[in-house]
């Protein structure tokens, strides 16, 4: 899948590029509105990561132009430091698929991109298979041999996020933000994520051994596959 990063901050663009390339995406950059327009005219992208504040204009203009083109299904994720509710609403109203306020974590970006892919392409095989557990993202269920494991909403969110970011340590901070959103004054250091993880692991371990579900001391969690 190919991604166009429209971002004038070179440093950030490079980091996102590195991360997404590592995840198997093909990445292109545009640093100005003008060059982004040219690229969008020429190519179809699976994803356009769009910064709103560009040196030669507003990202909204670019979004409008893209939505004016025919037969385009490029998914747009707005990345912005403006973070105002108005921007969020306006972006989504103008046809953006998602909105991430800077600073965002790359694993969150990846999770959002996966979510959009599933939504757009209505994947037949929605299930992800992990050590005999079938994670169905559409129905938000986890099955083991046709038996449903009864997870709470938050337990499922945590499990799903860890599965999406498999083989990578996900910090408590990151998990908190993903599951509870960017709520001010919710503190990542408190152990209430741990409570959910503990319950989650207890439930999973009733079906299969979970040595692959690793606790990384003082940081967070990792699912090794």
């Amino acid at each position: 899948m190919n991604v166009l990063i429209v971002e004038d901050e070179k440093g950030l663009a490079l980091e996102v590029d590195e991360f997404l390339s590592h995840e198997g995406f093909t990445v292109e950059h545009a640093r100005t509105k003008k060059s982004a327009e040219e690229k969008i005219f020429v190519n179809n992208y699976d994803f356009i990561l769009l910064d709103l504040g560009l040196p030669d204009g507003d990202g909204f203009g670019l979004l409008k132009m893209l939505k004016g083109l025919e037969k385009r299904e490029d998914a747009v994720i707005i990345l912005t430091a403006r973070g105002a509710v108005d921007d969020r609403v306006m972006g989504l109203e103008q046809g953006a698929d998602d909105y991430l306020a800077k600073p965002f974590s790359l694993s969150e970006l990846l999770a959002r991109m996966h979510a959009i892919t599933r939504r757009k392409h209505r994947l037949e095989s929605n299930d992800i298979n992990i050590k005999g557990l079938r994670v169905n993202i559409q129905n938000r269920t986890v099955m083991y041999n046709d038996e449903r494991i009864n997870l709470t909403k938050k337990e499922f969110e945590i499990f799903n996020y860890l599965v999406l970011n498999k083989n990578r340590v996900i910090s408590r901070t990151n998990l908190t933000e993903h599951v509870w959103g960017d709520v001010l004054e919710i503190n990542s250091d408190s152990n209430f994520v741990d409570v959910h993880v503990k319950n989650l692991r207890k439930k999973l371990s009733q079906y299969i051994p979970i040595d692959w579900f690793e606790t990384v001391r003082s940081i967070g969690y990792r699912i090794n596959i």
Partner: protein
């Protein structure tokens, strides 16, 4: 005192003074003029009387009774000659006095009396000629009454006319105050249209306020730009560093120590981000950059927050009781109201003791709705309550990453929505936070 009243009072007082002065002047001059006339007449009469001393009637009367009296029928005038102590060198002068006398033993009348001493046939006599001044007194009393009446009427008329006129005169002034100062909550929505007036002073006032507002709104725009810039300029570098750290963490050859440090740095960055976002939120609220167009149902928001925080409540084994009786909606900003109640309830969880309780109740008194969030937590002393709303004020808490901005956000959001906050707390017993939705405030 209002300027209008002051002006009217001043005008009335000056008019009263002028009328009183002229009235007094008229009274005095009338007295003077009429006395003058009477005195001239009395002098004539004296001359006439002295000339006719030799006449038989007076001569006879004097030589027999030593006294001569002559009154006219209505007692308007009298001539009286009485003997006095003999003095060969008497002065020729005359003396005028005003006296009340009764000539026919019936009624008293006030007379202007001329007294003159003269020698006649080796005797000294006192001649007194009087003329009534009742008519003058009457005139004086009429003028007095008239002056009083005029005074009273003038007083009432000027007061009313002055009040009406100054009201008309000052109308543009109050219009300027009302439209340009009182009704302006936000310099961005200032009405630059001129208020119609022919008074130059008010035009000047209007222009001055408009130009002041122009300056303020320019500063306001600058401030908004500054906030936007700060958010962009600070959050973008944080974003770069955090992405970079995440990418470094992908490297498999990283030692465990470095990995831990990376994660610790990410956590610190997250803290920085939270602080910046909180401060941005506060300044945006304080700059009225939020829309107040939503009808927010308080009970709905509470329910939502309860669901969001359920796991934290369970984790601490708290009892959460929702006693809301009313379905109350407030016009405001929904995300902000959510943040407001979230911060308060989150605090009541954070500072609560394990197995404690949180109670939410409401009441409606005289159309004023109030909601109270009570916990059984650590509580605060009065000094702590006073400082609770200050930025970066934090208390001993188990949670290491408290930024001390939660209640500062509460303060700015409540101020934005005109909500009053009352905290009552007992140390080690618990805290009650009361939000009063007083629309009159």
């Amino acid at each position: 005192m209002k300027l209008q009243v002051k002006l009217a009072l001043y005008n009335t007082l000056t008019k009263v003074a002028i009328i009183l002065f002229t009235g007094l002047l008229i009274l005095l001059s009338i007295e003077k003029i009429s006395y003058n006339h009477i005195e001239v007449r009395l002098e004539d009469k004296k001359e006439e009387t002295l000339r006719s001393l030799e006449s038989s009637e007076i001569n006879h009367s004097l030589s027999t009774q030593q006294v001569y009296t002559d009154n006219n029928i209505l007692n308007e005038e009298f001539i009286n000659i009485t003997p006095a102590k003999y003095d060969p060198n008497i002065s020729k002068g005359v003396k005028f006095t005003t006296e009340t006398r009764n000539l026919n033993k019936k009624d008293f009348q006030t007379y202007r009396i001329l007294s003159h001493k003269f020698n006649f046939k080796g005797h000294t006599y006192l001649l007194q000629i009087g003329e009534t001044i009742e008519s003058v007194e009457e005139l004086k009393s009429i003028i007095k009454k008239f002056t009083l009446l005029v005074l009273f009427i003038a007083l009432v008329l000027t007061l009313i006319s002055d009040l009406v006129f100054t009201k008309f005169l000052l109308a543009p002034f109050y219009k300027i105050i009302d439209r340009k100062l009182i009704k302006v909550n936000d310099p961005m929505n200032f009405d630059y249209e001129k208020i119609k007036t022919t008074t130059q002073d008010f035009e000047l006032l209007d222009d001055s306020i408009s130009s002041l507002m122009k300056k303020i709104s320019n500063l306001f725009i600058l401030e908004k730009q500054f906030i936007a810039n700060v958010s962009h300029e600070l959050l973008t570098p944080i974003s770069i560093i955090s992405s970079r750290l995440e990418n470094i963490l992908l490297h498999e050859d990283l030692s465990e120590g470095s990995e831990n440090k990376m994660h610790a740095s990410l956590k610190t960055l997250n803290r920085l981000k939270s602080i910046i976002n909180s401060l941005l939120l506060i300044s945006k609220v304080e700059n009225n950059q939020f829309d107040k167009g939503d009808m927010v149902m308080i009970a709905g928001v509470i329910k939502e927050i309860h669901e969001e925080l359920e796991d934290r409540i369970e984790e601490k084994h708290l009892t959460f009781t929702n006693h809301l009786k009313y379905i109350f909606s407030i016009q405001g900003n929904r995300p902000l109201m959510h943040t407001l109640l979230f911060n308060i309830i989150n605090n009541s969880i954070k500072y609560n003791n394990p197995k404690g309780s949180i109670t939410i109740s409401d009441d409606l008194i005289d159309d004023i709705y109030a909601i109270t969030i009570t916990d059984t937590g650590a509580g605060m002393e009065q000094k702590q309550i006073d400082n609770a709303f200050n930025r970066f004020e934090k208390f001993d808490t188990d949670e290491k990453e408290s930024y001390g901005l939660g209640l500062a956000i509460v303060k700015s959001i409540t101020a934005f929505h005109n909500i009053k906050v009352k905290i009552s707390s007992v140390k080690n017993k618990g805290t009650a936070v009361k939000l009063i939705f007083d629309h009159a405030a």
